[in-house]
Amino acid sequence: MTSLLGKDLIGLEGLTADQITAILDTAEPFKEVSERSIKKVPALRGKTIVNLFFEASTRTRISFEFAEKRLSADTVNVASQGSSVSKGETLVDTARNLEAMRIDMVVIRHHSSGAAQFLGERIRSNVINAGDGKHEHPTQGLLDLLTLRDRFGRIKGLKVAICGDVLHSRVARSNIWGLLKLGAQVAVCGPPTLLPRGLESLGVTVMHHIEDAIGWADALNVLRLQLERMEGGFVPSLREYNRIFGVTRERLERAPGDIVVLHPGPMNRGVEIDSDVADGPHSVILPQVTNGVAVRMAVLYLLAGGAPDWRSQAADER
């Protein structure tokens, strides 16, 4: 069965605007499932899914697991610690073994860019990228798009500034592709040491002053500054980073209009974002997390070959 999305979800770069919109539209009714007292629909009954996490993750892994369970799939979690991976098994062999167990889907998180595609090319099961190195984190990009669409009613024409460590961020890449495809204006803002080369040629505006981004944008997507970036010499200190690039309430108050703040988590409070912003009226950080489950349900459901309007299919099954 060929799904609307093809076999795998590797990144938003490979999707069309229509495919992205279809995922967001499919996620809408799934939001309601999580609000029920019995949070379960039978859409993926009988499907087996492996959550293969080569890199530590709490939020993404739990979000996927809830999405799978609320769709009635059977799931197994594999973490790299304590598995054959830590005994030196190659990704090729891991893939072949999974294939031999006749599973339906694999959700993979891996520290190397390209790992999800690598796996997808070698097994017949659907592969969903839950973050590969610095490449993409498509379901995070999708949940950010859904959160923006909830708030503004549209993506087209929206001005979104992605702030912070864009260089090392898969979240940034998925957001850039998704936003550009849906017609948003995209800027990146951060110290030049943390911005990758060539983004201008994709139509992205490059800024170095957080005040400029706040003055321009309808929404800020504030990226996590990984603490090891200090050792890499990309920024001198957390204190200076907060002082020069941090999203603070004082700075937000000078925004010309209403501005929305997203953060993919986990946050470094007092570094890239201040607590009174994270917990304040501009923040949509918790709605992002809620939307994460709905978007992942939509992706799993569509890859399994589901029709974009899942209610009609569910009705047929009854």
């Binding site: 770069e13 990704l91 090729v92 190397s112 595609q117 190195g133």
Partner: protein, 328 residues
């Protein structure tokens, strides 16, 4: 070690092997290796290839000391602090793939340094596998200044760009990395005007498993021996950059001159080391057709022009297409 390589090559009898000795003991970049001993055993140059000579002081010493033996010091130009962790060329493709890039400056800084040290010492520096337009321009100026600087480029770097890495193609992973179309064009121009003296394959076979992995973890290097002529004809001759005799010169007579080797010419009395090839034959590179045990070629599936049919070493045929002559 050098002597062992020479003796093994003679025993195999398939090719003349001219070893390049180390610049530093164990290629550690600290203490000068015994150039004299190695030259005595058959080394024709020194290099810590694969690794750059990081210490400018060591490079200076090597260039000075090598003058005694009349051998070039060959350098793999890479500033390791700029290339650290990089797996491909720094640019839009690396940004899209989320892979750590190596800026052109990592090579160019060392090319500049080696040129300056060649001027200081009067020593002969040979710059290996040049990959950037900036390097070509600096070498061109060094030659205009009359410095003893020679250079080489690989077929990969005059025919392929970083776009080949898209899809995480590990057969496009090499050091230096594949770069941009402007760099490819500059190298072709450099080969035309003699800024780049030689074509070198930088043949690097890897086991199938080694390249079947995440791009970050796959080793650098590709095979290039069997595709060199085909790529040269297609990307230099058919593209109008070089005449066929110029291509042949860059693969035979000129390298022989740079490294002061016998052969590389069809003159009377010269060693009868000859490759016979059909410069018009179109052929498609297929893994199963390669003679190498390794198939990590970036040209798989591509159609090339020109293919070797026969190789003779010292007048004896060691290879004919389709039939490999058994050991003597």
């Amino acid at each position: 070690m050098v002597g062992f390589v020479v003796r093994q090559a003679i025993r195999a009898g398939k090719a003349r092997v001219y070893p390049i000795g180390c610049i530093s003991l164990g290629q550690k970049g600290q203490q000068l290796a015994e150039f004299g001993e190695m030259v005595g055993a058959g080394a024709v140059a020194v290099s810590d290839d694969g690794k750059p000579v990081v210490s400018s002081q060591l490079m200076r010493t090597a260039l000075e000391y090598a003058k005694v033996f009349g051998i070039p010091v060959a350098d793999h130009c890479e500033d390791p602090t700029l290339s650290l962790g990089g797996v491909m060329h720094e640019g839009l493709v690396a940004t899209k793939l989320g892979l750590k890039g190596i800026p052109s400056a990592a090579e160019e800084i060392m090319v500049a340094r080696d040129i300056v040290l060649s001027e200081l010492t009067g020593g002969h520096v040979h710059l290996c596998h040049i990959s950037t337009r900036g390097s070509v321009e600096m070498i061109r100026r060094a030659k205009q200044m009359g410095l003893r600087v020679t250079a080489e480029a690989t077929p990969n770097h005059f025919s392929l760009t970083h776009d080949l890495c898209l899809g995480y193609n590990t057969n496009a992973k090499m050091s230096p990395p594949l770069r941009e179309p402007e760099d490819v064009e500059a190298i072709r121009q450099g080969l035309k005007d003699g800024t780049i003296d030689c074509i070198a394959t930088d043949h690097a076979p890897h086991h199938y498993d080694a390249k079947q992995r995440e791009f970050d973890d796959a080793p650098n290097g590709v095979v290039g021996l069997e595709t060199a002529i085909g790529v040269g004809v297609r990307s230099l001759v058919e593209s109008g950059h070089l005449s066929l005799p110029e291509l042949i010169a860059r693969m035979s007579t000129v390298p022989a001159r740079v490294f002061r080797l016998p052969g590389g010419t069809l003159a009377v009395g010269a060693p009868a080391d000859v490759t016979v090839f059909d410069p018009t034959r179109l052929w498609t590179v297929r893994a199963e057709d390669l003679h190498s045990k390794s198939t990590n070629s970036p040209y798989l599936g591509q159609t090339l022009t020109g293919q070797a049919d026969l190789t003779a070493v010292g007048g004896r045929i060691v290879f004919e297409r389709g039939v490999q002559i058994p050991d003597a």
